[in-house]
Symmetry: C2
Subunit: 337 residues, 2 copies
DNA sequence: ATAGACCATGTAATCGATTACAGTAAACGA
DNA sequence: TCGTTTACTGTAATCGATTACATGGTCTAT
């Protein structure tokens, strides 16, 4: 592979001139430029990014940490980040952490080693104070999850407000015995959604029953949603609606209901969260709160970019709009029962 | 950030000694080693990968090209590649091509620029002779899709055999009017599956009807699967079974059947392909051919690694095992109709 | 006692770009 | 006309690691 020096020799100029031409720095006469371009073509020269990045001390890579890439919610965020990064001339290095802070930490070491210029963390647990050690020294943006007590810029939706709307909707339909499938994780979204669940019930004079709140596994697995739903639907009195904090869990709940011989929504209403493809794949289509996943990723990337390149102060919090989407899995409770 | 020279000064040795110690090259006395480690700790030194990679002329990055990251089939492959790469000390740079050869080509330029040491291509179209231009000069492995006429190592399953088994299964159940939802793409898998569909019918003395083969959109979208299935199920005589080349399409077909008031599998049998999570998310659970997605990705990464590091000749073709999984969406046709 | 092997370490070149600085020539302004 | 920009180009230092080669000291075998 030809080097810049060879191109320079071929064109009869110095490397400085070639470099200036390629980087649009300084000036180069049209005549010389033409000769250089000819030489580049002749030798089919390609700049060596290893050398360039080393010299400029930048990697043009952004690190992305996600629990996994198979959950469609994360996949869409990754998609948004990836597209935005590509548009800005950055490459996205995706690391999966499996929700393990140790692996998260390992991956962040990449910043110290100059393998990446900045990082976007998707779904960090609460209580991530140790993150500040990195955030103070490197550009970092959190996407979707964050800790309100930790001062790192983040992009998310208003989980409390969204859950409240969902609950208000159920109550307005006439539901009183509303259960919830949450998750055994330390995400802020989970906490806010549970808070909103309790608060909204209370505000309507309905005493929240703790045994109506069933935590699914930390990764929102379909299987565990089904399991928890079966437990909930076996209780007496049986809840007439289940508020799930993810669509996968909602799908699990619907499957559970069907296996118990219950109809959705006639016998039990199920609502989800996120609005991933699953919601409209089989009937009943799922009522859910739509999150702008792709946009969350895109915004995160743009913020990080601003922080990395212009060293700009970026807003601590960016909240994008959610939307309650009513479909087939919700209906008024059957009051005759 | 401290440099190796500073560490060397602090420890009272030369940079060569520090480097040797860190790379386990040559020998360093225990005494010296201790002093160096102390210096590293004191200065909290981290090697600069930009410098190291530049010097060694390797990026320790592998390029991954996929049409998108949201299709669960690709997501699982990516997962396998990512884990394997991390285990080998490589980082995975994921680029989405949207099935656009131009973007695929652009991404491959990264190899020339030394941004990556090798590449794994997921789902390249047939007729990708131009790929040889890169494959001849850089380590490249294709995963899942490939072109038998293009000599690039690839990892896949036996699509023909798998489809044949699926068809034999349907015929053994008693189905004669079997339709197929394929796709409008140029993948080898699509071609082999269609071929196996035709051949197997013919071998059983059933004349394939061309209008029973409906191509869905190139990305196997749920929506287009539903659309095609509605057309097929509206035909006279109506097919009693539909062989779909992806689970998403199968899900679309099941939804279509339900919307038409048909029961699955009593009125129509639907079988899928891939075995992604969707298959067991709602009843009827889908009968399908399982592909070892994660393993496909992992193997691809290992092959690429062998090729990159030992320059070894690697096998041109690696075929992993598939498995027909019979679930609820298939049953003998109702012969009373 | 001495050659040869081996160990521990240092010196300095090297990878391929970017860029500060300097120099020359032409253009310009008064 | 002379000083001063301005346009264009070249020289060489530089980024931070790796590594070929050289050096001096120890140990071993004859």
């Amino acid at each position: 592979m030809a080097t810049m020096a060879e191109v320079a020799r071929e064109a009869g100029v110095s490397v400085a001139t070639v470099s200036r031409l390629l980087n649009q720095q300084g000036t180069v006469s049209p005549n010389t430029a033409e000769r250089v371009y000819a030489a580049i073509k002749k030798l089919s020269y390609e700049p060596n990014l290893l050398a360039r990045n080393f010299r400029k001390s930048e990697s043009r890579v952004i690190l992305i940490l996600a629990p996994n890439v198979t959950n469609p919610y994360y996949a869409h965020i990754l998609s948004g980040i990836g597209d935005a990064a590509a548009g800005m001339g950055y490459a996205a290095l995706i690391f999966t952490t499996g929700d393990d802070p140790a692996r998260e930490r390992d991956a962040l070491e990449m910043l110290k080693k100059h393998r990446a210029d900045g990082a976007i963390l998707i779904a960090s647990d609460m209580g991530c104070h140790w993150l500040l050690e990195y955030a103070d020294r490197y550009p970092i943006v959190q996407c979707s999850e964050y800790d309100p007590e930790v001062d790192i810029p983040h992009v998310s939706i208003d989980n409390y407000q969204a859950s409240q709307e969902s609950m208000e909707f159920l109550i307005a339909l006439g539901h009183r015995r509303i259960a919830m499938i949450s998750a055994e994780n330390a995400y802020i979204s989970t906490r806010l959604r549970v808070n909103a669940y309790r608060d909204t019930l209370a505000r309507h004079g309905i005493a929240p029953r703790e045994d109506y709140i069933a935590p699914a596994s930390h990764d929102y697995s379909f299987k565990s949603g089904k399991l928890r739903a079966k437990e909930l639907l076996g209780m007496n009195p049986r809840p007439t609606a289940i508020f799930c904090i993810s669509d996968t869990l909602a799908l699990g709940a619907i499957t559970a209901a069907k296996e118990l011989g219950l109809r959705v929504p006639e016998d039990v209403t199920v609502v989800g969260f996120d609005d991933v493809e699953h919601t409209t794949m089989l009937h009943p289509y799922i009522t859910t709160v739509a999150q702008p996943c792709y946009e969350l990723g895109k915004q995160s990337a743009h913020l990080l970019y601003a922080r990395m390149t212009q060293g700009k102060e970026i807003p601590r919090q960016t909240i994008l709009k959610h939307q309650l989407i009513v479909r087939e899995s919700s209906a008024p409770p059957d009051l005759l029962e």
